[in-house]
């Protein structure tokens, strides 16, 4: 007989994501009635805030539920907070932009909320089936969001491209999970870890094939070289607030699952360290070198996001608890200053006729000096100059690599950062020093985007000067399994 009361007890584990889901459904329902459609934005924002509060409330507890399918440990609940915060910032950035570009529709907020739900699901489990379902729930709204500007050809292209590549990647991932299941007869990482040497001894080949396919599947999602080809086109074509969301949310979620898989589940495979060594070097270098050639800011930021993924991959090569918290720290730091940089780009793009080419930045320092100063701050953070959070994140990553004996990896990372100085500072060179015939169009701030700029700027500078709090957060978020 099935005892449903035992199921009902499990719901407190998933309160934050449940709130997001209910909010999304409410938005979808309200959106159908014209009279209430205006409420959707506030309903979405309110539910996200409630979910954030629930997630903060949950942080630090160890819970498991639904017959082991949900594992809400410190790692998972830390990422819950990160994902929900990213969703809130995205919605704040998007509100005005969508109206100006005439693509404002209530479904946008529902899709962002559901996508965030998917991220939380995939980060809060040790079961590969649930991970896959979470990944799909995250990705399907993203395909739609990429093509949200239906009258723009570029946006359509981005949607189709992302959909095809995403489906392709999912096939790899599923095949990998099937192989691992075939080798170990379980989809639960905890049982794989418990029987690891036994599984490798009996069916090692299938296990290795499965792990490789899983790595390929997630490699697509986080834009790891050589599976990065879709990133620039999708980032450039998608509406800019959506691009901001792409570069922060799904990327962090992909890394959360990769960390869970490769620093816990398949940690016993010794060869993975050297594989990640090569992947990290390839990803950093390709991202940085290709970013040098770009004339469009969004495209440049796309390649820069590939490069930053490469920096985080260093942690996988190094391994261990320090590297794990360094990777978490860097994911948070990247999300903060990258969202800030994209908020500036969104603000610039709401001027009429702008396509975020570098040349449009000319004269910005005269037209809107404050915005230009904030942009400079984010650019310094992306480059990794002190005293921003970008510097501390890189310092922490590279120093754990050096401590673990991966000196060359750290050296290549530092060299790559030098390369990146060239293209990041080009943004500042154009906006501060390039001469223009006619003065640049001034931007019009809204309270929402001003708030985003203030928060991200404060985070970039504040956590850069006093990283202690964020560091403690990242260090407390290492795995603990029930």
């Amino acid at each position: 007989m099935i005892d449903f009361s035992s199921v009902a007890d499990n719901f407190n584990v998933i309160y934050p994501e449940l709130a997001l889901l209910i909010g999304a459904f409410a938005v979808l329902l309200l959106g159908t009635v014209k009279r209430f459609a205006g409420l959707c934005t506030s309903v979405a924002g309110l539910t996200a805030l409630i979910a954030l509060w629930l997630a903060v409330d949950q942080f630090g507890t160890q819970q498991s539920g639904f017959f082991g399918m949900v594992t809400c440990d410190a790692f998972g609940s830390a990422f819950k907070i990160i994902f929900i915060a990213i969703a809130i910032v995205t919605m704040l950035i998007a509100h005005r932009f969508m109206i100006v570009k005439q693509i404002a529709r209530p479904e946008f907020y529902a899709l962002v909320l559901i996508s965030t739900f998917g991220m939380i699901v995939m980060a809060n489990t040790t079961d590969m089936i649930v991970m896959f379902l979470g990944l799909e729930i995250m990705s399907v709204p993203l395909y739609v969001l990429a093509g949200f500007a239906r009258r723009s050809l570029q946006s359509n292209e981005a949607g189709i491209k992302y959909f095809v590549m995403g489906a392709f990647a999912s096939a790899f991932l599923l095949m990998g999970i099937a192989f691992v299941f075939g080798a170990s007869a379980t989809t639960d990482l905890r049982r794989i870890v418990a029987d690891f040497s036994y599984i490798i001894y009996h069916s090692g080949l299938y296990m290795y094939v499965g792990i490789a396919l899983i790595l390929v599947g997630f490699g697509f999602k986080i834009g790891m070289v050589p599976f990065h080809a879709w990133v620039p086109d999708v980032y450039q074509g998608a509406p800019t607030p959506v691009t901001a969301f792409f570069s922060a949310g799904p990327k962090a979620a992909g890394f959360a699952v990769l960390l869970r898989l490769f620093m816990f589940g398949f940690e016993g495979v010794a060869e993975l360290s050297s594989i990640f060594w090569v992947l990290a070097v390839l990803t950093m270098t390709a991202g940085n070198v290709l970013a040098l050639l770009q004339d469009n800011i969004k495209r440049m930021l796309a390649y820069s996001s590939i490069a930053h993924a490469g920096y985080i991959l260093i942690a996988f090569a190094v391994g261990g608890e320090d590297a794990l918290s360094a990777a978490i720290f860097y994911s948070i730091a990247y999300a903060i200053f990258n969202l800030g940089a994209f908020a500036v780009v969104v603000l610039l793009e709401t001027r009429s006729g702008c396509r975020s080419d570098f040349s449009e930045l000319a004269g910005l320092s005269k037209a809107s000096p404050y915005l230009c100063a904030v942009l400079a701050l984010f650019v310094f953070a992306l480059t990794g100059f002190p005293p921003t959070i970008g510097f501390f994140g890189k310092f922490y990553l590279f120093s754990t690599a050096v401590k673990a004996g991966f000196i060359w990896l750290a050296v290549i990372g530092v060299l790559n950062s030098f390369v990146s100085v060239y293209y990041y500072l080009r943004v500042l060179k154009v906006s501060y020093f390039d001469r223009v015939e006619q003065p640049a169009l001034s931007v019009s701030y809204t309270p929402a985007i001003t708030l985003v700029l203030l928060i991200t700027a404060a985070g970039t500078l504040g956590f850069g000067l006093f990283p202690q709090k964020l560091l403690e957060f990242a260090q407390s978020a290492v795995f603990a399994f029930l």
């Binding site: 639904f66 017959f67 949200f148 239906r150 170990s184 007869a185």
Partner: protein, 197 residues
């Protein structure tokens, strides 16, 4: 010859016959009908194995729902008569086809051979080997217990995934009034008028 064997032989022959006829028919409606025949025969095989639930699902979902949907689509598209076979394939793709066919046949032989030898189930303690859990595994009860207990969470997640996919498809496909200018607004007003009638 026991009754079991007779039923097995008849239904397996019917299943293979239906499958063969399905791919050799030129008329799409005949193809679909033969596929339904093949699926019904396969359902009998499942039931013989004790997988009652699988048999029922095969009849209800595949034969009942999906293939009827196929029929509807074919009828709506008005695909009457014979489909032309198109251009003959170039020799390279033919070679690939035959190579793949041979590969699949070899694979089939290996699978059948290994299922007759008993050493597949020899070391049941090995985590790489799946073993049947109960005698009549596959009954509705077993499936329900798995689906609503251990796999409740993934099962419910699937429903959300499907919902998102539907919402997404509607958003992308929906024609909004201000999208395509006045011409579209007039035609959509017309269709609304028709719906009201």
């Amino acid at each position: 010859m026991t009754l079991d064997l007779v039923i097995f032989l008849i239904s397996s022959v019917v299943a293979v016959f239906g499958a063969t006829m399905m791919i050799t028919q030129r008329n799409p409606i005949a193809s679909v009908l033969f596929m339904i025949l093949s699926l019904l025969a396969q359902a009998v095989l499942y039931i013989q194995l004790g997988a009652l639930f699988m048999g029922a699902v095969l009849v209800i979902v595949y034969a009942g729902a999906i293939l009827v949907l196929f029929l509807f689509v074919i009828m709506l598209l008005n695909l009457r008569g014979r489909e032309s076979l198109g251009q003959p394939s170039p020799p390279i793709s033919l070679t690939v086809k035959y190579a793949l066919a041979v590969l699949f046949v070899l694979e089939l032989i290996m699978v059948v051979k290994s299922s007759f030898s008993s050493d597949v189930f020899a070391d049941a303690g090995n985590p790489g080997v799946m073993v049947m859990q109960t005698d009549n595994f596959g009954a509705v009860n077993d499936v329900a217990v798995l689906l609503f207990q251990r796999y409740l969470y993934p099962f419910e997640l699937t429903s959300i995934l499907l919902l998102v996919a539907i919402v997404g498809a509607v958003i992308l496909a929906q024609r909004s009034r201000d999208d395509d200018g006045p011409v579209d607004a007039a035609s959509s007003g017309e269709s609304e008028g028709k719906a009201a009638e």
